[in-house]
């Protein structure tokens, strides 16, 4: 993608700095990757040094949705509802290959990736990924937050009236639905 936004002000840079170092995560834990998520939060790999320590177990209080583990078709509506309950700006990390693409489960019950229902910012491959990979992905996400390139931040600019290329709009989001409706008219 890589389109650059100029900061409207130093205030926005400061706000993004604050956002990236105080992420409140909602760990949507389903499967084996949950064990590696626990290890990442544990003393040895310590996600607390990056500010993303405290999981808020209510989507209304969280801004980072970490989808940990396999998503099944049955789980789809619950995941969608939780994503919609979060306030913007919000970011999504798909933790593990099952959440990224379905992993090696290609069957009647596994959703081939969580991005079928929610727009994902960072994908972490691995089955399960090592905690170092998770921390690398977190730092990658923090860089994107600082630059204002998280998906939700781009869409907030679209809401404010800035020009956003249509290629940036992810399907299944309300912006895609609005764009489709505008095209039909």
């Amino acid at each position: 993608m890589g389109f650059e936004f100029h900061y409207a002000s130093k205030l926005e840079a400061a706000v993004n700095w604050a956002r990236k170092f105080s992420l409140f995560s909602y760990p949507f834990v389903t499967a084996c990757c949950g064990m590696e998520y626990m290890s990442t939060a544990a003393p040895k790999y310590d996600i607390a040094r990056f500010g993303a320590e405290f999981p808020r177990f209510s989507p209304r209080q969280a801004d980072l949705l970490i989808i940990v583990g396999t998503i099944t078709e049955r789980q789809g509506p619950a995941l969608r509802r939780i994503y919609e309950q979060m306030c913007e700006p919000k970011w999504v990390i798909a933790f593990g290959v099952c959440a990224s693409t379905g992993g090696f489960y290609q069957n009647y019950s596994t959703m081939p990736g969580a991005d079928q229902v929610v727009p994902v910012d960072v994908y972490i491959p691995g089955c399960p990924p090592r905690p170092e990979q998770v921390l690398d992905a977190l730092v990658m996400l923090q860089d994107r937050i600082q630059r204002g390139e998280g998906y939700s931040q781009i869409m907030l600019r679209a809401d404010q009236g800035y020009d956003v290329p249509t290629a940036a709009i992810r399907p299944t989001t309300r912006h895609a639905q609005a764009a489709e409706k505008a095209k039909e008219k």
């Binding site: 499967a31 290890s39 003393p43 583990g69 489960y105």
Partner: protein, 415 residues
């Protein structure tokens, strides 16, 4: 004049002492939904309960939110390709699933008595290490849900050492796929024995710290004692085995009653509870970790040198030097990988002691390189099924420690 009692009368509108004992408060039943994504870190399960005030009157536990179609995938994969799927069944004790599946297929092949002795000892060792990680995760997560966050950090610290050790021999921290049909994928590292002995010493310190924090802790005991009692008759009628079944007094452990691999050469006890409440389930697991450590020390002392894989060209891949240099070995390698090991037609139900109880594999083979049916008998399904029966009558806050001590692992329950 009793000022507390008088202020109560003013606030609650009570006329006399009798009202305090049985206040006539209006209640109405309310349906409450817990899950499928909830913070009790045990995977995804949905509990739909009817509550009156805080008391549960009816409970309906709904599983299936992690149904990843193990059986359907197994029907389309070769016998060796199923090992990664078995890893992800009970993902806190993956080696135990690997070993159980390998034993089942070896029984169908008829080679289960010919597995080299060193491979059998190593299977016991990695199995017991996995059992330790299973119990430590369960106890750590269960204690954290009751508020004892320090216990969680201590248990994860101990688990981390075991993960590193298993990573050295198998290459992966969590989903090892280390066992093969006929033996193992590789041998132990040269310093495995010293490292494991050192780690066991450190884990003993962790366990003693945890027991100082929890065993006589007033809050922990109040929330666990006498809650969710299961009787021995119920355990047998529902098919409960493993730590949950043994906590009720049912003295059934597959390693003692039907020894497999080399378990009959070790001297260990099987802890059995007496009351069948949450605290018994906790205590049985703590004691089982200690017994596992004792088995590990005996196994390390007795393990012989030798091959780690059966030298049978029907099941074992040829050594790489031959595969790259001789056409027969290359074809043998190709046939085993692409076609799969040809297992004779037949059916077998083979059972081992998993982390949660009797882990059974019922395998139906039609003679080709892929199974006709590969069924896992999940040991945690009866434990979750009995929740429908024991939750009514408990308070809402009792659901958390009860569910925590049942140790439902989503990968195994939903497969």
């Amino acid at each position: 004049m009793d000022t507390v009692a008088s202020s109560r009368r003013i606030v609650m509108g009570i006329q006399d002492a009798a009202d305090l004992e049985t206040p006539d408060l209006p209640t109405e039943p309310m349906p409450l939904n817990m899950g499928p994504s909830h913070p009790a870190m045990h995977g995804t399960v949905r509990m739909v309960m009817d509550v009156e005030g805080e008391k549960i009157t009816n409970a309906d536990v709904q599983i299936g939110y992690l149904h990843r179609c193990f059986e359907k995938e197994a029907e389309h994969a070769t016998w060796t390709q199923i090992f990664p799927y078995t890893d992800r069944l009970n993902y806190v004790s993956p080696m135990l699933n690997n070993v159980g599946y390998a034993i089942a297929v070896e029984k169908l092949l008829g080679i289960d008595k010919q597995i080299p002795e060193r491979a059998q000892y190593i299977r016991v060792i990695i199995g017991e290490i996995s059992r330790m990680t299973d119990h430590m995760t369960c106890l750590g997560a269960g204690a954290m849900e009751l508020g004892a966050f320090t216990v969680f950090l201590y248990m994860l610290k101990g688990r981390e050492w075991l993960y590193e050790l298993l990573e050295e021999i198998s290459g992966a921290r969590l989903t090892h796929s280390y066992v093969r049909i006929g033996g193992l994928a590789g041998d132990l590292t040269p310093d495995f024995s010293e490292r494991l002995t050192d780690i066991l010493g450190r884990i003993r310190i962790v366990l003693s710290d945890v027991s100082k924090l929890l065993d006589r802790n007033r809050i922990f005991r109040d929330r666990m004692d006498g809650i969710a009692i299961i009787t021995q008759q119920e355990a047998m009628a529902w098919g409960l085995t493993g730590p949950v079944g043994r906590s009720t007094g049912l003295a059934y452990d597959v390693r003692k009653d039907h020894p497999y691999l080399v378990y009959d050469r070790f001297d260990f006890d099987v802890p059995v509870g007496s009351v069948g409440d949450n605290f018994d389930r906790y205590a049985v697991r703590v004691e089982e970790i200690k017994q596992s450590m004792s088995i590990l020390e005996q196994a390390l002392a007795q393990i012989p040198a030798g091959p780690f894989m059966l030298n049978d060209p029907r099941v074992a891949l040829p050594p790489k030097s031959e595969t790259y240099n001789s056409i027969e070995a290359m074809i043998a390698h190709f046939k085993i990988i692409m076609d799969g090991i040809h297992v004779p037609a037949g059916e077998v139900y083979s059972f081992t002691e998993g982390g949660n109880g009797e882990l059974g594999f019922y395998i139906v083979s039609d003679g080709t390189g892929r199974p006709w049916k590969c069924r896992v008998r999940p040991p945690c399904v009866p434990a979750v099924a009995i929740m429908n029966k024991i939750l009514p009558g408990l308070f809402l806050a009792d659901v958390v420690p009860t569910f925590g001590m049942m140790n439902m692992i989503g990968g195994e329950c939903d497969r």
